[in-house]
């Protein structure tokens, strides 16, 4: 049987790990460095089957397996093919106790918990179950042969045993250096270790020359050829060898425990032992993951970094793949040797084993994008769909100009189901709305609607919409598509905070809404059975096309418009009926691209596009929407305060000849920055580009002439189109 290492076939026997197979072939997977065979150190890492940072000592060799050495410097390359890997499944498990590690102490802890009647989950590396990390919860993420496990436990018990301390001395980057346990494991696996010199605790069952003392250095070119040891008598002695076995003591395998700081996580058995303290080295690499040497430690120590956590950050020791599993004994002994206090190991960060992207993404989902009840209708009509305001919406139906002229000259329908919608009733409904809105809600009569701004406590505009008085103390509110979720919470929070007796029903997803707009919209609606005269900003309940609707007369496009709010399950039927009835009227559905152009011609602001986080009503020239002479409302005090300050910038209308500049384009006055464009479109009806943009005031005045994208532009009054709004109110 063969595996492929860096393009060359390597023979292996049944039962071999990848590491054993490579060592038998005289290859060190990383080129050199002490090996532990316990999955603790970074010295056997390689890319296996395209997944980097795989531990060759823990991976059984398989025929045809592709193994690649990591580069000597830098990181292994990311996969460059575009082929998605297989999806990794997830299981969520809930338990009282999870025990990580199933050695003697782990089994005992699991049994004890079971005897106490607790629900127990165990993880055993021998069964291919590796805990990768512990997160807030506590939540343990584990890689298993059945996919990823996300274990939600009340208590985590770490029973992961102890790892051997690795040698730090000049030359410890050579091949042929093993911990005592690794020496035993590899000898048993049939790896020819040659002449073995054992320093400290000798390996069991392996013939070796046992030596006591402190390692001074390892010698050799690429592979160890000798080790120099300072004996108890202080003399240095050189021992020629093919391999060095190092038994310097044990350090608790406590990375997971250190990850669980502040959580209900404890260690048992060897994982809870006191760490052995090795002799502080005078030279050599302490942290192989980050390449930190004793000299590096000295430098930061002398710079005043004398705490474990600070030394970690100053040198990056312990920030690599093993999260301090290998270097903390030496960091502790270094600090103690320099006269510092013996300090506990630092907090570890997930992960202890490197997951593939598929494993990391297992169980994760993109933020879902909702679809209106008309989604299938739009797609059937060939709409180009895009995410707008957090929803899938029709951007256009293939011909924006056709859509545009249908609105301006005939009739069109648009899907506005995404608008936020809410019913409010109750004894304190009016009191609540008066507090929330800067308009005099009490002056909105039954059957009437009003366009309103919504301010936050700092007086900044965060949304807009309508208030519709339904009579009997009941109100229907609308919000922007993108802001409706926040607006709902905002209304609820204020109702709770003010302890007002109001009923609130959020209806955004329950109701569809279709905007019927254009000079022939009334004709279309009469064909659909709606003949009730409805003045501008009035609303009523009626059947349209056989569907019970709340009909609102308004205008965002600048033309006569009616919004039909209706049960979402009736949306498709109503939509089709309207298209059918308007066929000979030249009806076309319009998408968002057209809508943005239409509303811009009217100078209608889109909150979130034309507004920013510091937008006041004054800055967008909409102070008419605030009634400062009413009682207190959210944002009033801030408005009174900011109104005393000089106006520094304003959302202004701009126009220019030729094509429309990009939204976001910088506005210049000469060579001075004067602002930026927020909305921009070429107006077919006006034959020029129209824009809204934030423009700075110079000496208290907005400049009349500016430059955008190198072309002259003029400030212009809004609305650009139908200045008297005769068409909307027709």
């Amino acid at each position: 049987m063969r595996l492929i290492f860096d393009g060359k076939p390597i023979e292996f026997n049944a039962g071999d790990t990848v590491l054993a197979a490579l060592l038998k072939a005289g290859i060190h997977p990383a080129g050199g460095g002490p090996l532990c065979c316990g999955g603790d150190c970074p010295h056997c890492l390689a890319t296996i089957g395209g997944a980097s940072y795989a531990r060759t000592c823990q991976t059984p060799a398989r025929p045809g397996m592709i193994v690649e050495r990591h580069p000597a410097n830098g990181y292994p390359p990311l996969p460059t093919n575009n082929l998605p890997g297989p999806e990794v499944s997830t299981r969520h498990l809930h338990c009282d106790v999870i025990v990580i590690g199933q050695g003697r102490s782990g089994r005992a802890a699991a049994e004890e918990a079971k005897q106490a009647g607790k629900r127990v989950v165990t993880l055993d590396e021998k069964e291919g179950q590796e805990a990768l990390g512990i997160y807030e919860g506590p939540l343990v993420i584990a890689r298993t042969s059945q996919g990823m496990w996300h274990v939600h436990a009340r208590e985590v018990i770490v029973a992961t045993g102890a790892a051997e301390i690795q040698p730090v001395a000049p030359g410890n980057q050579l091949a042929g250096i093993f911990t005592a346990r690794a020496t035993e494991t590899l000898a048993a696996a049939g790896v020819n270790l040659g002449r073995v010199v054992a320093i400290g605790e000798p390996p069991r069952g392996v013939e070796a020359e046992n030596v006591q003392g402190q390692i001074v250095r390892f010698e050799g070119e690429k592979k160890v050829e000798a080790v120099v040891v300072r004996g108890p008598d202080g003399n240095e002695k050189r021992f020629a060898c093919d391999s060095v076995s190092v038994g310097l003591g044990l350090n608790p395998r406590d990375t997971l425990l250190r990850m669980g700081n502040g959580l209900n996580v404890r260690a048992v058995g060897e994982a809870a032992r006191e760490p052995d303290l090795p002799i502080c080295p005078t030279s050599g690499t302490v942290c192989s993951c980050s390449g930190v040497t004793v000299e590096d430690l000295d430098r930061v120590w002398n710079s005043g970094f004398r705490e474990m956590e600070l030394i970690k950050r100053a040198t990056l020791a312990g920030t690599g793949t093993c999260q301090g599993g290998m270097c903390t004994p030496y960091l502790r002994s270094f600090i103690k040797a320099r006269g510092g206090e013996l300090q506990p190991a630092f907090t570890a960060r997930p992960v202890t084993r490197q997951p593939t992207l598929a494993e990391a993404a297992a169980g994760a989902h993109h933020r879902p994008t909702p679809r209106t009840a008309l989604d299938a209708e739009h797609r059937r009509l060939g709409a180009y769909m895009d995410r707008v305001g957090g929803w899938w919406r029709p951007w256009n139906y293939g011909n924006v100009l056709e859509e545009y002229w249908a609105v301006r000259e005939a009739v069109s329908i648009g899907d506005v189901s995404t608008l936020g919608k809410m019913l409010v009733s109750g004894p304190d409904a009016l009191k609540l709305l008066e507090h929330l809105y800067p308009t005099k809600v009490s002056t909105i009569g039954p059957g009437r609607s009003r366009y309103v701004l919504i301010l936050d406590e700092r007086g900044y505009v965060f949304d807009d919409g309508l208030i519709c008085n339904e009579g009997d103390g009941r109100y229907y509110l609308t919000f922007t598509s993108g802001g409706s979720s926040f607006a709902e919470m905002w209304v609820r929070d204020w109702a709770d905070a003010l302890k007002l007796d109001a009923r609130l029903m959020y209806q955004t997803m329950s109701l569809g809404a279709i905007n019927v707009t254009g000079p022939l919209s009334r004709e279309l609606l009469s064909r659909a059975g709606f003949t009730t005269p409805l003045n501008y900003m009035q609303h009523t309940k009626a059947e349209v096309g056989g569907v019970a609707c709340r009909v609102l007369r308004l205008s965002f496009t600048g033309e006569q418009s009616y919004e039909l709010h209706h049960p979402a399950d009736q949306s498709a039927a109503l939509w089709r009926r309207l298209l059918e009835l308007g066929a000979d009227l030249g009806i076309k559905p319009h998408g968002i691209e057209t809508l943005l152009k239409l509303r811009l011609e009217k100078g209608h602001v889109i909150v979130g596009q034309d507004t920013d986080f510091d937008t006041t009503a004054r800055r967008i020239d909409m102070e008419w929407a605030l009634k400062l002479d009413k009682g207190d409302f959210v944002g009033r005090q801030a408005v009174l305060r900011t109104n005393k300050e000089l106006l520094d910038k304003q959302l202004a209308g701009l126009e220019m000849d030729g094509p429309a500049p990009l939204e976001g384009a910088v506005i210049w006055r000469g060579d001075e920055y004067a602002g930026y464009v927020t909305s921009s479109a070429y107006s077919p009806v006006l034959g020029k580009a129209v824009m809204l943009g934030w423009v700075k005031l110079f000496d208290g005045e907005l400049p009349a002439q500016v430059v955008i994208e190198g072309r002259p532009a003029r400030r212009a009054a809004v609305p650009f189109y139908d200045k008297e709004s005769n068409r909307a109110r027709a």
Binding site: S89, T90, R91, H92, L93, H94, H150, H152, G363, A364, H365, H366, R367, P368, T369, P370, R371, T372, A373, D375, W391, L423, S425, G426, P427, G473, R474, D501, R503, L504, M505, Q507, M509, S510, L511, P567, A568, D569, Q570
Partner: protein, 127 residues
């Protein structure tokens, strides 16, 4: 996995005390989705409540699917981070597959309800 369909329902918003005291007919499922709100299916607009300001509205904003218990639990083990209630029947709410969901758990079957606008995403995540 079977498809989700729009759920015909009535939504009722009223004072918590009025909802606590309400007598719900035996042939309907009344799910207390908030302290002041109940989702009733099939629609039942005639429920009597001791709240003159209560809001009753027909609702088609949710979609639902019944799954056999073992099929549902297998799916939920994969896509539900929170622990399901042990008792049956039980009502629970939370994120399932990254989407706000309501669960009505019976001993042999489970009703999964999600906002209708998220059905496409949810169905994709069920497979």
């Amino acid at each position: 996995m079977p498809a989700l369909n729009r759920l015909p329902a009535t939504r009722i918003v009223a004072t918590p005390s009025a909802l606590d005291a309400a007598a719900w007919p035996a042939n309907i499922l009344a799910l207390r989705i908030a302290s002041d709100e109940v989702l009733v299916t099939p629609p039942a607009p005639e429920i009597k409540l001791n709240d003159p300001h209560a809001i009753f509205e027909p609702d088609s904003g949710f979609a639902d699917v019944w799954l056999a218990a073992d099929e549902a639990l297998k799916f939920l083990e994969r896509e539900c981070e929170w622990e399901l209630p042990a008792e049956r029947p039980a009502f629970a709410q939370g994120m399932v597959a990254g989407i706000a969901a309501k669960l009505w758990l019976e001993s042999d079957r489970v009703l999964i309800i999600v906002p209708a606008p998220f059905v496409a995403d949810f169905e994709e995540r069920m497979t």
